[in-house]
């Protein structure tokens, strides 16, 4: 005990003296995972985000002259390591961490209170705590673009379209095959509500982490004989599910995945079994978007790209990382408009930027991201902003976009979010903000 602490404290002395360099720099922590069962997602997203920062630094000299800096930290998708990375990175750079992408629903949960106390926005794009969309209760949490519940209503809408109308859903059977974690369970209540609304039956079947063993689950699915299977998987669970589906002969074009089940890494290992599989997405695949071409021109042409395997350029996860980079930097840009152009922004200022983020079609064009992402307008009431989803189908070689942006049904989602957020506020004794007085 003695020696361990002595070593620890000796190192501590060296640490706490680290003075932040006074420079025009905006520090963004990149906490992700490069090892473990979820590494394909973590490494792809981190690379996309960093490449976008590199693009801005090389082409525009940062954001109005403020260079973006970053530091990578390995979380192993584990909550304690995620908290450690957060604590390590939060005071770096001249203004501390701009915002945090926890990159795991579990870590997001662990950071909500810490971020709120430290005044650092917790941004969970396409994952995280759904009811944090109510910005009155969660001022520092931003589940941007689309949360799981919105996505789920869009999915049911899509199934309705395929069946030929929402009234045709009556009597249909849907299986919700989910990763047995906080992330996987997030959509159970909304599915139950929708099942009552439209008259379909839903069966929830859990797959334990990491999900490489699913025989029992698919036997159960065979007994249920569902019309559709909703796949709420993550990492290695996805190709395993597709292979198991092929084995029992369940049609793959009746399996609909969430966006964490819809990347190249999820289908290629399943081979032929994945053909026809449909997945949701909030960013478009492909390398022919203007912004990706710019990255190739300004970053990869100079040999400074983050990816070692360049064929991953334009894959789903990589593009998602670019999208996260766009949202991060746009929030800083917005904050600079109010608090001073060309200055590094603090977490508190970036929070304002995120809350007033408005990426319209015109701005999308300037960013070179038309068709790459949906327009986004965040407000104090609504920390989600977008809410629409595209559906894509794997043809054996690449993802083909099937639909345009399908809007979610906020008339179902919003009351549930507000009720859930109100319960949280009551449990924790939080007073709701009054949005009309926010500037």
């Amino acid at each position: 005990m003695k020696t361990a602490l002595a070593v620890a404290l000796a190192a501590a002395a060296g640490f706490s003296t680290q003075a932040p360099a006074q420079a025009k720099e905006q520090f963004v922590p990149v906490n992700s995972y490069w090892v473990g069962p979820y590494a394909p997602g973590g490494s792809g997203i981190a690379a996309g985000m960093i490449d976008y920062f590199k693009l801005l630094n090389a082409r525009d000299r940062g954001i109005n002259g403020v260079r973006i800096t970053w530091e990578k930290c390995e979380t192993e998708y584990r909550n304690d390591r995620g908290v450690e990375c957060y604590e390590r990175s939060k005071n770096k750079g001249p203004t501390g961490a701009t915002l945090i992408h926890p990159l795991s629903t579990g870590i997001t949960y662990s950071l909500i209170e810490k971020g709120t106390t430290d005044k650092i926005p917790i941004v969970s794009i396409g994952y995280g705590r759904t009811d944090a969309s109510d910005g009155r209760v969660f001022p520092y949490v931003f589940p941007l673009m689309t949360n799981y519940w919105s996505q789920n209503t869009a999915k049911i809408k899509f199934i309705g379209m395929k069946e030929g109308g929402m009234d045709r859903l009556k009597g249909k059977k849907i299986v919700n095959l989910y990763h047995d974690s906080a992330y996987g369970k997030e959509t159970i209540p909304i599915l139950e509500t929708q099942a009552k609304m439209y008259g379909f039956t839903v069966t929830h079947i859990a797959v334990p982490h990491p999900g490489n063993e699913q025989q029992a689950q698919w036997l159960q699915i065979r007994q249920v004989r569902p019309d559709w299977v909703i796949l709420r998987g993550w990492g290695v669970m996805n190709p395993t599910a597709l292979k198991a589906a092929a084995k029992i002969g369940f049609p793959r074009d009746h399996i609909i995945g969430v966006w964490w089940s819809g990347a190249e890494e999820d289908v290629i290992p399943a081979g032929e079994a994945a053909k026809g599989y449909i997945a949701a997405g909030f960013n478009a695949p492909g390398a022919d978007h203007v912004v990706i071409r710019e990255i190739q021109k300004h970053v990869y042409a100079k040999g400074q790209g983050e990816l070692e395997d360049k064929s991953r350029l334009g894959t789903i996860y990589y593009n998602r990382g670019v999208l996260w980079g766009i949202l991060t930097t746009e929030a800083v840009r917005k904050a600079q408009e109010r608090f001073g152009k060309g200055k590094p922004m603090t977490g508190e200022q970036v929070r304002w930027g995120l809350e007033n983020l408005n990426i319209d079609d015109k701005r999308l064009k300037e960013l070179g991201a038309v068709g790459f992402m949906q327009p986004l307008k965040v407000s104090c009431m609504d920390h989600e902003g977008g809410g629409a989803v595209k559906f894509q189908q794997w043809d054996g070689g690449q993802w083909k976009v099937l639909t345009d942006w399908i809007a979610s049904d906020q008339s179902i989602v919003r009351p549930m979010i507000e009720a859930s957020a109100a319960q949280y506020a009551q449990e924790k004794g939080i007073a709701r903000r009054d949005c009309s007085t926010e500037k």
């Binding site: 005990m1 003695k2 020696t3 361990a4 602490l5 620890a8 404290l9 190192a11 501590a12 002395a13 640490f15 706490s16 995972y33 490069w34 090892v35 590494a39 490494s43 981190a46 530091e71 990578k72 930290c73 390995e74 192993e76 909550n79 304690d80 390591r81 908290v83 450690e84 957060y86 604590e87 390590r88 005071n91 629903t105 579990g106 949960y109 662990s110 909500i112 209170e113 810490k114 705590r129 759904t130 047995d180 974690s181 906080a182 992330y183 369970k185 997030e186 159970i188 209540p189 859990a206 982490h209 070692e308 859930s420 949280y424 449990e427 924790k428």
Partner: protein
């Protein structure tokens, strides 16, 4: 020369029976505790207190719990994380459902719940031993997580099954900063570690060790097998339960049942194997090695980057971290199979002779 007990005569039974019979040990421990209580919170920053020292102390307590069961009583268990989960979720429920309950009482009650679960799953130990018992405790690991996930009551019907620990207030004093949480954790861990140290010298502790060394002989000399084994399970689970409650309340804040997976049980088992089976100090050394060392490796890679100006691909670094860590575990086990605590013991023996080893 400094560490020698020559000349320390014991003239009363009380003196002879104190926890640390050697004066140098007592002084060192007092200085060390004073340092940890007074100096560390003053010089440590949030990162050190909140992200490194607090989890280190909490995992030390869990490892200590397992060490009582596995190291002292000789019963192999793979259910440590499950007992921690029981502690975390029950502490949350006690605070939620019993208005005005003192938080420390909630921790104790949570520990008692974990002890009850431990006794139930300790029952097979009366019939089976060794690896077979490990498999039986594996059932505990899966059953507890299953129950926490399936019955909404445990998480107060949270949609995603996570719990958010309430604020810690003791006698009107809020433990809300990392430094205060660290102090609370340190207090609990110090008291429980001393209690464990004392317990192992008592009749109960000696009975545990007798059962571990040879249970037939132990029962022949009149040690009640059932009571001793179940008591070992109960005490061990109590420690793990309190560690779990601290883990939720003082460290993560919001936890999901998956945080207490089998993976964590194995990590705690590795802690006591590396630290030293059957040693209080070993639990701390092992916890330090397993929780802090990977972070140190991670930081070291960034120092290498800065120092030598070579950028190593982060994916390589992350994988190297696992490789070096695994390699070191094997190295330590070959060089010192009895763990880091044994190394410390050898150092102490050498110190007694220093500077004149014959």
């Amino acid at each position: 020369m400094l560490y020698r007990e020559a000349g320390q005569f014991k003239s009363t039974y009380a003196e002879d029976q104190q926890i640390f019979p050697i004066r140098q040990d007592r002084i060192a421990l007092a200085v060390f505790l004073a340092f940890a209580l007074l100096v560390v919170p003053a010089i440590g920053n949030q990162y050190w207190l909140g992200a490194l020292l607090t989890p280190f102390l909490i995992f030390s307590l869990a490892a200590l719990g397992l060490n009582i069961l596995t190291g002292y009583a000789g019963q192999l268990s793979l259910g440590t994380a499950a007992f921690m989960a029981v502690g975390a979720f029950m502490a949350y429920n006690f605070v939620l459902r019993v208005p005005g309950i003192p938080i420390l009482l909630a921790f104790v009650l949570a520990g008692i719940c974990a002890a009850a679960v431990g006794i139930v799953f300790g029952l097979p130990s009366l019939r089976i031993k060794g690896f077979y018992l490990a498999v039986a405790t594996l059932a505990c690991q899966f059953f507890v997580l299953w129950a926490l996930q399936r019955f909404g009551w445990f998480s107060n019907h949270s949609t995603s099954g996570v719990i958010t620990a309430q604020q810690i207030v003791i006698l009107g004093y809020a433990f809300d900063t990392p430094a205060r949480k660290y102090l609370l954790t340190l207090g609990v861990v110090a008291v429980m570690a001393l209690a464990a140290k004392n317990l192992m010298r008592s009749e109960t502790g000696r009975a545990f060790m007798a059962v571990r060394d040879m249970d037939v002989a132990a029962s022949v000399i009149g040690i009640p097998m059932m009571r001793t084994k179940l008591l070992a399970f109960a005490i061990s689970s109590f420690y793990c339960g309190v560690a779990g409650a601290l883990h939720a309340f003082c460290y993560l804040g919001t936890v999901e049942p998956e945080a207490y997976s089998l993976d964590l049980s194995f990590r705690i088992l590795f802690m006591i194997i590396i630290g030293g089976v059957g040693s209080i100090l070993g639990a701390f050394l092992g916890a330090a090695f397993i929780t802090l060392f990977p972070i140190f490796l991670n930081l070291a890679s960034s120092w290498v980057n800065e120092f030598f100006g070579v950028e190593i691909s982060h994916a390589v670094v992350s994988n190297l971290e696992s490789i070096i860590f695994g390699g070191l575990i094997i190295f330590f086990l070959i060089v010192e199979p009895q763990g880091l605590a044994r190394l410390w013991q050898i150092t102490k023996e050498k110190l007694r002779l220093w500077p004149f080893p014959h």
